[in-house]
Subunit: 340 residues, 2 copies
Amino acid sequence: MGGDKAPNMVIEGVEIAIKTLTDVRFLLYGDEAKMIPLLDRFKAARAVSEVRHTDDVVTNEEKPGQALRSGRNSSMRLAINAVGDGEAAGVVSAGNTGALMAMAKFVLKTLPGIARPAIATYLPTQTGDTVMLDLGANVNCNADNLIQFAVMGEVFARNVLGIQHPSVGILNVGAEGLKGNEAVKQAAQILQNSNLPIQFYGFVEGDDIGAGTVDVIVTDGFTGNIALKTAEGTAKVFGTFLKEALTSTLISKLGAILARPALERFKMRVDPRRYNGATFLGLNGICVKSHGGTDALGFANAIDVAVEMVRDGLIDSIKTDLKYLSEDSSTIEDAQTAVN
Amino acid sequence: MGGDKAPNMVIEGVEIAIKTLTDVRFLLYGDEAKMIPLLDRFKAARAVSEVRHTDDVVTNEEKPGQALRSGRNSSMRLAINAVGDGEAAGVVSAGNTGALMAMAKFVLKTLPGIARPAIATYLPTQTGDTVMLDLGANVNCNADNLIQFAVMGEVFARNVLGIQHPSVGILNVGAEGLKGNEAVKQAAQILQNSNLPIQFYGFVEGDDIGAGTVDVIVTDGFTGNIALKTAEGTAKVFGTFLKEALTSTLISKLGAILARPALERFKMRVDPRRYNGATFLGLNGICVKSHGGTDALGFANAIDVAVEMVRDGLIDSIKTDLKYLSEDSSTIEDAQTAVN
């Protein structure tokens, strides 16, 4: 029931997603009076879905704590419970991000070795896709948080994006070791000296996101959220200016008509719907947050992300790598002492 | 002598700048053996320039403190001294940013009421140009710093961009008052309750930069630097994808040829050289930092920015508004007590 165009775009999203997915079934939580007529229209979705009725929804205005206390029968909470109970392999929601994170943390629990889960997504770059995290779950992060994000992001890049030896960079205001705040300096020093099976690149800057310099970009949730939204906003202003230019004269309009298939391919390549579906990493369960304003195509992509993570055994891979982190913790403590 | 293509692009930059500037004269500090042959080629520049020879230069690798101690006869330092001595109205450099800031602070001094100067620039948005600061001078900022940035950014938007009543927003991870780190929350609360002559909008998010939601965006130097470079990187990846699409087929190439004048206008509109020239705000003197990698056209724009600030009497305007800030300081202290 979450998202601007729910439940329509959710059910149509299922219809689109199953065109390329086999052996996936859906539990749809929400208002059956709204969902059943939609399922009559989307017959392929109906064939793989089961409706679980509840009247209660989490609104976008609810604070996380409030949703946690009073939303026990909400569609969001019941969907997360299905993952907690082992009935579902993962949950996808376009609803209230803070509430989803609070409920998912409460029900699914954080993985051992993870202080705080992070929000991760992947983005188009000059050289392919790059994973970035945290995108807003944690406004303030210390070096330990960043190191845990590095481990989880690396596993995501390896498992979900299929990159064999992903390189990991920490977002900073310069490439040199002396720049930046205490958290990034300490995290970089620790990652440089650790025995973790991570190919640590060092610091990267804002323009390295688009350049695709590394496969995984680690940052605190304040900076990550602002960087991601700045990229989205820049893409939008770029698109507007391009459209204005191409429709400015008759000749340019004719040129745009000839170039239309190419321009469509370009548009698809930077289409935010293709990158919809942010993952909550660090939980003992798969939870994907779709953009609230997306449409069915975007929601279908978020479903794909969740299915991919389930099939790739992402949680188990993260658990394995977190063991290295705990084995490495004496090294990390030594390094921290050296830094302090 | 600073910048990848100096001194050529500096002198050619003067040649370009004076096409549209009248009554401006230049003191060129650096190696006369390199500069004089260039001035023989750029005769318009020669007519308005005086060469001041020095062998010493600040390299890009020098730390700010090191440059401050050992660069007393560097071209950068002598150029700043000319402003300090009142011989020049402003200084423009494409050299080492940290060294330039350290020397400018030492020679020109910080304005009364400003704890730390900030780096500001303006960017293209959907609705016009927006000023953003700090872009990297201060990695860690408290609420006081952010409020001072707000005052200075507002004066810049009013004087240099000619916006009558500029709106000011603080960059954050959400629009609601409860989100963000302590510094932004406190600064917002103070600006909301202050008597400063500032039209305070509230919090803005990363995508509001490109959307042009406000005229001035205030942020700490860590986030601001990363946001600015993320925008640059996104514009670059967008440009690459567009070029790849338009050259992918014969028909799309033909379309691109027809649309070329429109595409050129589009390219010009997002050309980073048009936005080259970051201003050090909060100093008792005009100091503009050009991008080190720019060309003559970009450097000419940085000269324009400096001349505009001198002619608009930017420093005096900032001084006037800082008086409001000190008069308002009792209100601010009350608000701070209320927040704490």
